[in-house]
């Protein structure tokens, strides 16, 4: 069974009908993992024996007639989602051996459904970034071109066929940009659809648990399992509508796709061409195209960074070396804090904590924070207004092709790459990255954004065959 060419539904059916055991499937996955991970730096830790033990238990349940919807399906989990069996590094060398006392709600739900965690994937310094270039363990290499970054290790794990889907986090766009850079599909669900319990986030207002997979069909099956109220995350919603069946693509004559003209002006011509072609293809298929205005993208990005940095400065306060992690060497309390925090927080996390504290200080609070909160509101209103004119929006996922590993860039260059993703995070609306085309033999992804809880429509539309998706690549 080749995971790249098999749907989750087919693989589960094969396990349930005894064509392959969960044990064999996971054993094969772990072998692939050791071969394919070499040089790509996808995993921070690999489950090994624990994963095989879980697979054995699933086979036993299967023999007793258990009807697990993800029986034996391998999943990679980003290393900022707590999982009691493997270390949770949070993107800090000081946490390489940290065993979390809790397991994230999303991971629990997957395991209850029969999925097997095969490893924890690489991430930026304390999960802050969209490239993995600031990871203490070094960047994850793009499976398409080895001299470039993958953007997200979960996307690389899926693109290489190591696993059928990955569980990731997304605040300003790391997951969506990674999916774009690796030519796979990534869903950031509506705010409140998936519990964030057990997700270590630097940015509570915008961090969400997302799914990256090879196809929309695979995402739909997993999303059904993850959706719904969790009393440990007060912001979760009761989700009654099932998403598993997405085979019916929305009637083209009833759907209007919004094309924010000004957004595409930020792109280089060769990238813009990909989206113009996608827009024309939608029109050829009978979808109505409405040109709309999203005039606050850049200012929305800046508001995102003010709020994200301020929240990071607060969320990082718990990393004091006393309750978990490593304690800095000193007999003086103040110095112990300083040393502990210097060891735990890498360069980017330190920068964000310090700048966030500065923005919150007297004199700056009103000027920056209050203004950012108002711009946040305006961005939400702008997106809501856009959906008066259209049913879905198309936007780029990334501003550029994936970065070269040896490229010189400033922190502001990296922040600016979230231009198309961070404002969507502010809107709270769901976004799906799907392959839209290629430039210089690298995949380019498109975000489809819809109103709250419109995932079913997004996934149905996203399953259209662009002919450039990874399924058509050998």
């Amino acid at each position: 069974m080749e995971l790249r060419k098999t749907s989750i539904h087919q693989a589960v059916e094969a396990v349930q009908q005894g064509e392959i055991t969960a044990f064999e499937l996971i054993e094969k996955t772990l072998k692939n993992c050791s071969v394919l991970d070499e040089g790509l730096n996808i995993f921070n830790s690999i489950a090994g024996i624990d994963a095989l033990e879980q697979a054995k238990a699933i086979d036993q349940k299967n023999e007793k007639g258990g009807n697990l919807p993800l029986a034996g399906i391998p999943v990679a989990v980003k290393d900022d989602l707590c999982y009691g069996v493997l270390p949770t590094s949070l993107g800090s060398a000081a946490f390489n051996e940290f065993m979390s006392p809790v397991t994230a709600a999303a991971v629990e739900r997957l395991m209850d459904a029969g999925a097997v965690v095969i490893g924890k994937t690489n991430l930026d310094d304390m999960g802050q970034g969209s490239t993995t270039l600031s990871s203490p363990g070094g960047p994850t290499v793009n499976p398409w071109q080895a001299e470039r970054t993958a953007g997200s290790a979960g996307a690389a794990a899926v693109a290489t066929g190591i696993c059928m889907f990955a569980l990731e986090s997304d605040s300003g766009g790391a997951q969506r940009q990674g999916a774009s850079h690796c030519g796979v599909v990534g869903l950031r669900p509506t705010t409140g659809r998936v519990s964030r319990y057990g997700l270590n986030t630097h940015c509570s207002s915008f961090a969400r648990v997302g799914i990256t997979a090879f196809s929309c069909e695979n995402i739909a099956g997993v999303l059904d399992i993850l959706s719904g109220f969790d009393e440990r995350d007060a912001a979760t919603a009761v989700c009654r509508e099932g998403i598993t069946e997405i085979s019916k693509i929305p009637n083209s004559d009833k759907l209007t796709i919004g094309y924010p003209v000004n957004a595409f002006d930020f792109l280089e011509p060769e990238l813009r061409e990909v989206f113009e072609k996608a827009r024309d293809e939608f029109a050829e298929r009978g979808y109505k195209i409405a040109e709309i205005d999203l005039g606050l993208l850049r200012e929305g990005l800046q508001a995102y960074y003010v709020i994200a940095l301020i929240e990071a400065s607060s969320n990082h306060a718990r990393f004091d070396g006393i309750r978990f992690g490593k304690t800095g060497e000193s007999e003086i309390l103040e110095e112990m804090y300083q040393h502990s925090r210097a060891e735990i927080l890498g360069k980017e996390a330190r920068r964000r904590s310090i700048f966030g504290t500065y923005l919150l200080s007297k004199g700056n609070y009103d000027q920056y924070y209050r203004q950012a909160l108002k711009v946040w509101k305006m961005v939400r209103q702008e997106f809501k207004k856009a959906f008066d004119q259209c049913d879905l929006l198309m936007l780029p996922a990334a501003k550029k092709l994936p970065r070269l590993l040896n490229e010189e860039y400033s922190f502001l260059d990296e922040y600016f790459e979230d231009l198309f993703c961070a404002p969507v995070s502010l809107s709270g609306m769901p976004a799906l990255t799907v392959p839209a085309g290629q430039v210089n033999q690298l995949p380019v992804g498109m975000q489809l954004v819809g109103p709250p809880f419109s995932e079913k429509t997004l996934l149905a539309l996203g399953s259209w065959d662009t002919g450039t998706g990874p399924l058509s690549q050998e």
């Binding site: 409140g192 200012e299 800046q302 000193s330 305006m378 922190f411």
Partner: protein, 94 residues
Amino acid sequence: MDDISKGLEKAIKVIKIKVSSSEQEQLQRELKEFLTWLEPMLLVDTGQTEQQFFGHDAVNVLRDDHPRQSELAELQEAAPKFAGGFYLVPKILE
């Protein structure tokens, strides 16, 4: 020392992070660049717009409060130093 540099120094002190002098110099330059980068957002006419505080507009429904089993034992295991029900830190009193 200008106001931004003073503010930065204070922020570093408040959040208790050990930063070398060369890193602090670099952070000063970067903070100035960052504040310049934010200028377009400051120019947005927000008029009577209210502030947004949450990622959604739903109304929170509070659940009943029920006592649960303490997770102290698990938290204890995760702490570098823990004894007698307390996290241990260096002494601040003789």
